[in-house]
């Protein structure tokens, strides 16, 4: 019996039992779709990882305060001066960008007032860091820092290019809404008790196209020169340490240089902090890996769902094959009587089940592709990350499921006693 004829007989049977076949298709295709989704997620992750790495640079370090550190009173903490010292000692570094941060400064403009914005004290080097913005006006410059000028740069939220389904409950804060709809360039605003001139506005990329998935600045930042920040902190008398910074971002250039610089920076800071290790130096690549670990976990869960669905589909196929065999015992007898070998019968049922799996796989690919396309609109890379071999692999899995789950029923069919089968009504 030729292969094509066996498949044709299979198609015949599938067509003759539409509901039964459809149910098998359905579960197989759900499984296949889940598989496909997992593939695209895993692949998308690597694409994102590389994109993010290109954006931040391969030699990124971040120095942070150690949160749970109990000071012995020797160290002044992580300060602007630390950043200046690092810059002085290592002028070859691509970036040394200290960031100080203060919450709840009252923002006022015209009749609008809000405590939402977060005040960031930065140097011009901040602009070397993950720059994804479009700038109007100018950013903070060296003069601003040198003379502690009352100037600020405001951030305009990027909104959505296409709002994804999960963002239905996303609501911009009142301040973000205000910042998005009022052009304050060259206007004067009040922060706390101080008047500032808005010298620049940076606009974020749309949220769904923002490649900075690894670190979002939550809240609504307003950037001012770090010297100005220190000055108003001293004046405001609200406690806190005016010199202290939240983090120092460093770019050493190439990834291979990271360990060496980690050691050097640690030595310099330990000396400046009089032996107190109240800071930690984070390799950005590690941070990515951690985030990716979470994503991998999610992918694994989806994969588990996919496997369960495929198993269910497989059991469905087994069921269909068994049912097919029971309803065709007579036919098996007839075929045996006219000369079919056990092998012919076995092959026939195997191929029927594999055909079922094949079409389930095709349907699943359509379903999965559609679903991923729909979900994938929020970030362009997810769908682009699907490769041809993913389709081939999922199709192979579907056909393989049909094969594996029909082996036992098909074997049983081939072992039927022809005399008994012929007598069966």
């Amino acid at each position: 019996m030729r292969l094509w004829e066996l498949i044709r007989t299979g198609l015949f049977e599938i067509y003759a039992h539409k509901t039964r076949s459809f149910l098998s298709f359905l579960s197989i295709s759900i499984g296949v779709a889940a598989m496909l989704y997992t593939f695209s997620q895993v692949n998308g992750m690597f694409v994102q990882f590389n994109k993010a790495l290109d954006l931040v640079g391969h030699g990124r370090l971040e120095i942070e305060r150690k949160e749970d550190y109990r000071s012995r009173g020797l160290s002044p903490g992580l300060t602007y001066q630390d950043a200046l010292a690092l810059r002085r000692l290592m002028p070859e570094l691509h970036m040394v960008s200290p960031v100080a941060q203060q919450w709840s400064q009252r923002f006022r403009y015209g009749g609008f007032s809000s405590e939402e914005p977060v005040l960031y004290g930065v140097t011009p080097e901040w602009a070397k860091r993950d720059w994804v913005y479009t700038l109007r006006g100018r950013f903070i410059n060296d003069d601003d820092v040198l003379f502690a000028k009352r100037v600020c740069v405001m951030r305009m939220p990027g909104g959505w290019d296409e709002k994804p389904w999960w963002a239905v409950f996303w609501e911009d804060s009142k301040y973000d809404d205000f910042a998005a709809h009022n052009d304050l360039l060259d206007r004067q605003i009040t922060l706390g008790d101080n008047l500032f001139t808005v010298v620049g506005v940076i606009k974020e990329p749309p949220r769904d196209k923002d490649p900075r998935w690894f670190s979002r600045e939550w809240g609504s930042p307003i950037y001012i020169p770090i010297s100005t920040y220190q000055k108003i902190m001293r004046l405001s008398n609200r406690g806190g340490k005016p010199d202290e910074v939240r983090e120092i971002n460093i770019d050493v250039g190439r990834g291979e240089l990271v360990p060496a610089y980690q050691r050097r920076i640690k030595a310099v800071l330990l000396e400046r902090h009089r032996g107190e290790e109240d800071f930690k130096i984070i390799d950005f690549r590690d941070r990515f890996q951690n985030i990716l670990k979470n994503q991998r976990e999610t992918a694994r869960q989806v994969m588990a769902v996919g496997i369960v669905a495929i198993l269910a589909g497989g059991i469905g196929i087994m069921n269909v094959t068994l049912a097919t065999i029971y309803s065709r015992i007579k036919e098996i007898g007839i075929r045996r009587a006219i000369g079919a070998r056990r092998r012919d019968i076995l092959l026939q049922f195997l191929l029927e089940a594999m055909t079922l799996g094949f079409f389930g796989g095709i349907a699943g690919i359509a379903l999965g592709y559609g679903g991923i396309w729909y979900l994938g609109r929020r970030s362009a890379e997810t769908l682009a990350a699907l490769e041809l071999w993913h389709f081939a692999a999922t199709l192979a899995i579907a056909v393989g499921t049909g094969f594996i789950f029909s082996v036992i029923p098909a074997y049983q069919a081939s072992r039927l006693d022809p005399v008994e089968a012929l007598r069966y009504e």
């Binding site: 019996m1 015949f12 007839i334 075929r335 045996r336 009587a337 006219i338 000369g339 079919a340 012929l422």
Partner: protein
């Protein structure tokens, strides 16, 4: 051509065993037309199943064409069945979703014949049984007599030496019966060895030899 020596078929074992065929011996020359008669449950069908290699004897020797075949494995028996034997059943046993042509061609596909050759050959066979015009109809669209003619054409698919007909006219009216018997006699005239199982003495009388079976034994072997 066909030799049975003390062939028995016993279902079950020991005291509960049922002897469907209890030591049957006979010989049939190539080209003979043998009617097998007897009441129902006498072992006619068991005899036919063993003859047709669908079943294996529990004991005894079955030689087909000078070769012991009763003890062959399933694969070899299937192969022999395919080329040496053609079955005609009382209930036709055609595949309902296949056309007459496809039904006739099916045994050829198991023999590995190509599509074109099969079609041509099957069409020729249908023509021979007078069903040329109905080759694309399914069995459900055919009358009983026509169905039996399709199944005779199918039995001839791989040019077998032996035709085994199990009550071929049991489900047919008298006119169709006469047609089918005519066809079977024609096959005999062309040199096929024919076994015809029946309980109708009138039909048996058209054979040149009658084997009467009762309770699994041959009680009479009569030649005319």
């Amino acid at each position: 051509m066909i030799r049975f020596e003390d062939v028995a078929k016993i279902y079950g074992t020991g005291a509960t065993g049922f002897e469907a065929l209890g030591g049957v011996s006979f010989q049939v020359r190539a080209g003979e037309f043998v009617a097998v008669v007897g009441p129902s449950g006498c072992g006619k069908s068991t005899l036919l199943n063993i003859l047709g290699l669908l079943d294996q004897p529990s004991r005894g020797l079955y030689a087909l064409g000078g070769r012991e075949v009763g003890t062959l494995g399933d694969g070899e028996r299937s192969q022999l069945r395919r080329v040496k034997i053609g079955f005609v059943f009382q209930s036709f046993n055609l595949l309902p979703r296949f056309s007459a042509l496809e039904n006739v061609a099916l045994p050829m596909s198991y023999a590995g014949m190509g599509m074109e050759e099969r079609r041509a050959r099957a069409a020729g066979l249908l023509d021979r049984v007078g069903l040329k015009s109905k080759s694309l109809q399914t069995p459900l669209e055919l009358s009983g007599g026509e169905r039996q003619r399709v199944s005779i054409a199918r039995a001839l698919a791989n040019s077998p030496d032996v035709i085994l007909a199990d009550e071929p006219t049991g489900n047919l009216d008298s006119r169709s019966s006469a047609e089918i018997l005519g066809l079977i006699r024609e096959l005999h005239a062309q040199g096929k060895t024919v076994f015809l199982v029946t309980h109708d003495p009138g039909i048996a009388s058209s054979a040149e030899r009658v084997l009467s079976i009762k309770d699994g034994r041959i009680i009479e072997d009569r030649r005319r």
